[in-house]
Each structure stands twice: as structure tokens, then as C-alpha cells.
């Protein structure tokens, strides 16, 4: 939990500074998110972000790495993710060539051969091992994205890495990070992550932003949009989230939709233009069907009134 002198200089010194740092990179975070991010940096703890898809969980890792000038190492999780694609793999083809070369040269010292071919240069480093390596710019940002997609076996493997920041390789020895990387883990909750892992992290639930913040986000991410349209867009999306949908639109969808509308040169929301672009917001046919007719009129009226 100690911080090295060279890395702490770049880190923000208070929650407000953190908030400023994120804002300067166009990430308009709630204060609570800035607080946990700041804490995770100060305490050297992984940050576990959970929430619906499209609320900006992955984005914060990207912004953080850009703002702090650190390398971003991303591990996208999927079912069947194993050590050879997450941590390291031996370059077997190169090893075999080395063996043949040694043979041709008449080299028969087994010990020597063994230590030669299990050396650093025959190792293919995958994201987790890369993240443990020292970097000139300071410890990198390690993004472990959508951990809920990996299976339990991989989660158990992460426990060692996240608490000690080290990896044991049988042929090679233990690799330990001189300075722990900044770890951000995200999950969409398609399954529960084990408590043992969460216990090692700071946990934060990322919610949909409030209307005001979402409006600011839209304005900053879709620069050409008119004030009137952006307001209607945000109101419409916020009203949609109150509906009983299978999948409510996230901030990413709001930005997509606003971009789409602005590309279409829409001045304000009309049933026609909403109907044509609804696919940018809702991703389930059932939800889109439900939006037809009365519900659409109602939500639209809510969104366009008094503007």
C-alpha cells in the first residue's frame, strides 16, 4: 500500500482534483465515482465497477490512463479465458527451433538447454503479465473488462494477482510488480462475482446519470447539437428509463442517438424521426414493439413539452 515517489507526483491529491482531472478529459463523473477512483489510487486497491451496460464503466479506465499518461492494458474477458491467453504463453515454435539449433551445434547439456529455452525472449506476455512489468511512465492502468463473462476458474486465478500483484510461472519463477498497476474491473452482472474477489476491491455501483449531468455529457460529446434538441433527447431517454423495458438505454446509447439525430439534421423530436432512429436507443425487438403507438406519444409529449 505504499506509493513510490515518482508515481504519486502525477496522482491527484484530493477528490476535487480527481474530479477536475476526469472532467478535463471529457468524462463528467458523479462526485461519488471520483471519490472511489481517487481512493483506489491512493490505497492501491483495485476498483470494481458494476452497473448496467453503457453507463461508462470501461470509459473511466481509458480516461484515467490518458489523463495520468499511463499505458492502458486491456483484458477483455470471455468464457474459456485461460492462463495462456490472459497471462503468458511460451512461443513453442521458436523454442523448437532453438532445440534443433542446439542439436545441430552438438550441444547436449540438458540443464543449459532447459534454462535457455525457458527464457524471457521465448515468452509471449499477455495482458496480466504486461501489467506487472515496470513502465517508465509509472504503473499502467489495467482494465479487466466484463469479468462476469469469464468463468469462475479464471476469477479464482485473479485472486493471487490482485492481492499480491505477482504471477508464478513454473519454469521461470515468480514475477512481481515493483509498483502495483492501477486496476479497474468492470462487470455487467450477467452473473454474480464471488465475494472473495470483491473483498479485495473497492466496490462501486455506477448508475445512470441524472438529467442535468447527462445533458452536459451529450453537449460535450456531440458538439454540433442544438440546445433544444439535446434537452429533448435527454428528457426522452430519462423518460424511457422509467418505462418497464427489458434493457434501458445507457449513456452510450444516448450519445449514439444524439449523434444520429444530429447527423440527420433533426431540429427537434418528431414521431417520424424518433421512429426511424429508435434502434440506436433500444436493442430488443420486444422493447421497440412496445414503444410503438401510445407509449411513444406519451414519452414524446413528456420530452418535448415546455421547451
Amino acid at each position: 500500500m505504499t506509493l513510490s515517489a515518482n508515481s504519486s507526483s502525477a496522482l491527484p491529491a484530493s477528490v476535487d482534483a480527481m474530479l477536475e482531472l476526469l472532467t478535463s478529459r471529457g468524462y463528467l463523473a458523479e462526485r461519488s465515482l471520483a471519490t472511489v477512483t481517487y481512493l483506489s489510487l491512493r490505497m492501491g486497491r483495485p476498483l470494481f465497477l458494476e452497473g448496467e451496460a453503457g453507463v461508462g464503466k470501461t470509459e473511466i479506465a481509458k480516461v484515467l490512463s490518458a489523463a495520468l499518461g499511463r499505458k492502458l492494458i486491456r483484458l477483455q474477458c470471455y468464457e474459456g479465458l485461460d492462463v495462456s491467453s490472459a497471462v503468458y504463453e511460451w512461443n513453442s515454435a521458436a523454442q523448437m527451433i532453438a532445440i534443433r539449433m542446439a542439436e545441430a551445434a552438438g550441444d547436449t547439456d540438458r540443464e543449459q538447454l532447459s534454462s535457455d529455452i525457458f527464457a524471457d525472449r521465448y515468452m509471449i506476455k499477455r495482458p496480466l503479465l504486461q501489467a506487472l512489468e515496470p513502465d517508465v511512465a509509472g504503473p499502467p492502468v489495467l482494465l479487466i473488462d466484463e469479468l462476469d463473462r469469464a468463468d469462475e476458474a479464471f476469477e479464482a486465478y485473479l485472486l493471487e494477482i490482485l492481492s499480491d500483484f505477482q504471477v508464478t510461472i513454473p519454469e521461470f519463477g515468480t514475477v512481481k510488480a515493483p509498483h502495483p498497476p492501477i486496476v479497474i474491473i468492470t462487470s455487467n452482472r450477467t452473473r454474480e462475482i464471488h465475494d472473495a474477489l470483491k473483498r479485495r476491491c473497492l466496490y462501486h455501483w455506477v448508475d445512470y446519470p441524472a438529467a442535468e449531468r447527462e445533458l452536459a455529457i451529450v453537449k460535450s460529446r456531440v458538439p454540433g447539437i442544438s440546445a433544444k434538441l439535446s434537452q429533448q433527447v435527454v428528457r426522452f431517454v430519462q423518460a424511457l428509463r422509467n418505462q418497464d423495458f427489458y434493457k434501458s438505454p445507457g449513456v452510450a446509447e444516448t450519445i449514439d442517438w444524439a449523434t444520429a439525430l444530429s447527423e440527420l439534421d433533426a431540429r427537434s423530436l418528431t414521431p417520424q424521426v424518433v421512429g426511424d432512429t429508435l434502434g440506436a436507443l433500444l436493442k430488443y425487438q420486444d422493447d421497440i414493439t412496445r414503444m410503438q403507438g401510445d407509449t411513444l406519444q406519451k414519452v414524446l409529449k413528456e420530452a418535448t413539452s415546455e421547451t
Partner: protein, 400 residues
């Protein structure tokens, strides 16, 4: 980050506050370990503790590890940190965890039952008289309807259920393990082995895919009309959950409750007791449609994503049977690998799907089976251990 740069008295008050707060959270049912308390003490000096919102977020990030606990935490925080003096007073009223939650001894209930009168009187109904002189007692028990069992027979049935084990291997995963007959070459092990002979490859090592059991998700109807079966099914689900990890159990009557965690406790009696403590609408009415809707919306993506088999245990007697019910059933059917409806009503020989609810639900299930006695549960286990049909054949089918 050590806390020694603070004045000693300040540190002490911090510690008192945090420990007291952690105790309050624990008493409210949140799992708060000593590690979290230490974390909190390390974290607070880093932030500006004058800012209440920041303190809230900090403590929340440390103590709350499940979104469901966020509400409890918020209430506890607001109560605990309302005024500087009041908390001390409150602290006294919070019992220490070991006193607050003294576990009832697991065997107590069974001992009590053994001493007392049978819980159920022998049912005089003669709907099904398949007792024949030629069959042994054990066979009678296999065929006897759960609803007509005496207390002793129920005990016997429970024991039989506890012995039931599902076969393990079912789903092929994308992970590999050493397997001499596997299809994939394990170059790493081959090379390592070859070094022993100075680089000559003699043995080829192979990898095969790991198989693991498909997750099971059970939706159990606990309405009044099912009450004679509920306890036995819970025992059954507890027994299979013991053997394989990925079993999720939901109970529904008028509302849906996730009891997966409650059912994880080793002792069946304790597990069932904490289940019933979690449920508010035991033996009440049924709202299948609404419960399925809740399940589809809140849980389906979380528990069905790995090719789960769904067991829907219900008699299907729904009053508000309308197109919504069919819609939710269809959605459920399309999001799981196999939907098996277990219906105790099927025990009657001349059963016909006359009730509106049943008619609505039937087109959307892969299998419709009786579960009213031990032999039907045994058959269910046989079904579950058969190889699974290809995933999502239902995707080809047009949506109803």
C-alpha cells in the same frame, strides 16, 4: 497508507466510530469482515472527512460489495452518523454479533420432531390406492404422492431425496486440461517433457476440453395450492445444490424471491429455515405472470447466461392468465437451454390442460413432467443427466 500521522485521540475516535458502524452493519445483516474495517480506517484519513458525501462514498465502496446492500448501508449510515454524540448511545444498543445471531442448533428441530407427534395426520383420502400386497414398503414409498404421506413417510422420503445425486459432466467448456485422448496438442508440456531427453520429442501430450455440469435454475411456486410439495422440493433442490455449485433457486407466490444463498447452508433444516425467513408471501396467492416478468427482467441475464436448464415447479393455476403470461413464458423459454415444467397436477391420470394458465404456458415448455412422488423425482434426475439437445434450437422457431 498508515494512520499514524493523525493525533492519537483523533485516531482513537475514528477507530471507535468505524468499529461501531461496522458492528451496526453486521447486526443489520451485511457481511462486514475485519479486513473491511481496517480498509476503512486506512481510507478515511486520505479524504476530507468534513465532506459527508465523500465519507459516505468511501465507506460505501469499502463495506458494500453487493448492489442489493446499498439500501441497507444508506439507512445505516444516515442513522449512525446523524450527530456526533448520538452514535455512542446507539452503539450500546447494538448487540455484539455473536450474541445477536446465535445459531439455532442444527439438529434441534429434528430432535424435537422425533420427540413430538407426527406433524401431519394420516390422510384418509383415497384418490390413489396403488398399495398392493405384492410390493415392498420401499416401492410403495416410491409411488406414494407427497401430499398423502404420513410424517414418518415424509421423513423417509426426505432421506431418499438427500441421497439423490445428479451426474456431473454435461457441458463442454472452452477450457482445457491434460487429456491423453484429447484433440489439441499441448505443446508446452510436450516441450518440457522433451527436454528430459535433451530435446527429442518422444511423447506427445494432449489437451481435452473440460466438461462441467450445466447450471440449473429452479423457479418454485410456493402458493397455497402447492404447500404440500414445497418443503420436499426445497429439500430436493438443497440436495442437488449440495453436489453441484451452480444451482439457483427462486421462490414465487405473489412475488419473486431469490433464495439461492439461503439454500447454500450445509444443514438442510437451517437452509430451509433461512429460506422461509427470506420469503414474505409463503403459501399465499399466485401471480405467475408477474413473477416471471420480474425474473425475466432482473435475473434472467444473470443466471441463465451459461446455458442453464430451467425447472419451473408449479401447478400453473393462475387467475390472471392473459397474453402477458404467454409472452413471459416465451421469453423465458427463449433465454434458457431447456425449460422443464414440473407439475404435481399431472399425477391424476385423466389430467387435461383445461385451466387457462396451463394452456397459456404449455406451448412454451420443452418438457412437461409430473413431480409428486419419489419415482418421478428419480425420473427427473435421469432426464437431467441425459446429453443436452443443441443449444437454442428455439432461435430458429419464430417468436410467438
Amino acid at each position: 497508507m498508515a494512520i499514524n500521522h493523525l493525533a492519537p485521540e483523533q485516531t482513537e475516535q475514528f477507530a471507535d466510530n468505524i468499529v461501531g458502524f461496522a458492528r451496526a452493519l453486521r447486526a443489520a445483516g451485511m457481511p462486514v469482515g475485519p479486513g473491511a474495517v481496517i480498509d476503512a480506517m486506512n481510507a478515511l484519513p486520505v479524504i476530507d472527512i468534513g465532506n459527508r458525501a465523500d465519507v459516505f462514498t468511501t465507506l460505501e465502496a469499502i463495506f458494500v460489495k453487493r448492489h442489493e446492500h446499498a439500501l441497507i448501508f444508506k439507512q445505516a449510515f444516515n442513522l449512525f452518523f446523524r450527530a456526533s454524540e448520538e452514535w455512542k448511545h446507539m452503539l450500546d444498543s447494538v448487540p455484539l454479533p455473536d450474541q445477536a445471531k446465535k445459531k439455532p442448533q442444527a439438529g434441534a428441530r429434528r430432535v424435537q420432531e422425533a420427540m413430538s407427534q407426527p406433524r401431519m395426520t394420516e390422510t384418509p383420502q383415497h384418490q390413489e390406492q396403488d398399495l398392493r400386497l405384492s410390493v415392498s414398503d420401499k416401492e410403495i414409498l416410491q409411488k406414494k404422492d407427497f401430499a398423502q404421506m404420513s410424517a414418518a413417510e415424509i421423513t423417509e422420503a426426505l432421506r431418499a431425496i438427500e441421497r439423490m445425486r445428479l451426474p456431473q459432466a454435461e457441458l463442454l467448456t472452452r477450457r482445457h486440461r491434460p487429456d491423453s485422448r484429447g484433440l489439441r496438442l499441448d505443446l508446452r508440456r510436450t516441450l518440457r517433457a522433451s527436454l528430459r531427453t535433451g530435446g527429442d520429442i518422444i511423447d506427445i501430450h494432449r489437451l481435452g476440453r473440460i466438461e462441467k455440469p450445466a447450471p440449473i435454475v429452479a423457479l418454485l411456486d410456493i402458493s397455497g395450492s402447492m404447500s404440500e410439495y414445497t418443503r420436499l422440493f426445497l429439500h430436493f433442490l438443497h440436495a442437488i445444490g449440495d453436489a453441484r455449485k451452480r444451482v439457483s433457486v427462486f421462490l414465487f407466490g405473489t412475488r419473486l424471491t431469490n433464495v439461492t444463498r439461503a439454500l447454500r447452508q450445509r444443514d438442510p433444516d437451517e437452509a430451509l429455515a433461512s429460506c422461509s425467513a427470506a420469503v414474505e408471501d409463503w403459501a399465499g396467492g399466485t401471480r405467475i405472470s408477474a413473477s416471471l416478468h420480474n425474473f425475466n427482467k432482473l435475473w434472467a441475464r444473470r443466471v441463465l447466461s451459461q446455458g442453464a436448464i430451467v425447472l419451473l415447479i408449479s401447478d400453473g393455476l393462475e387467475r390472471e392468465a392473459d397474453s402477458k403470461l404467454a409472452f413471459e413464458m416465451d421469453r423465458l423459454h427463449r433465454s434458457c437451454r431447456r425449460l422443464i415444467w414440473l407439475n404435481p397436477l399431472l399425477r391424476f391420470g385423466g389430467f387435461e390442460a383445461k385451466a387457462q394458465g396451463i394452456k397459456m404456458m404449455l406451448p412454451h415448455v420443452d418438457e412437461f413432467r409430473p413431480v409428486h412422488n419419489l419415482s418421478s423425482i428419480q425420473e427427473l434426475i435421469t432426464t437431467l443427466s441425459r446429453p443436452l439437445p443443441p443449444h437454442h434450437r428455439s432461435l430458429i422457431r419464430s417468436a410467438a
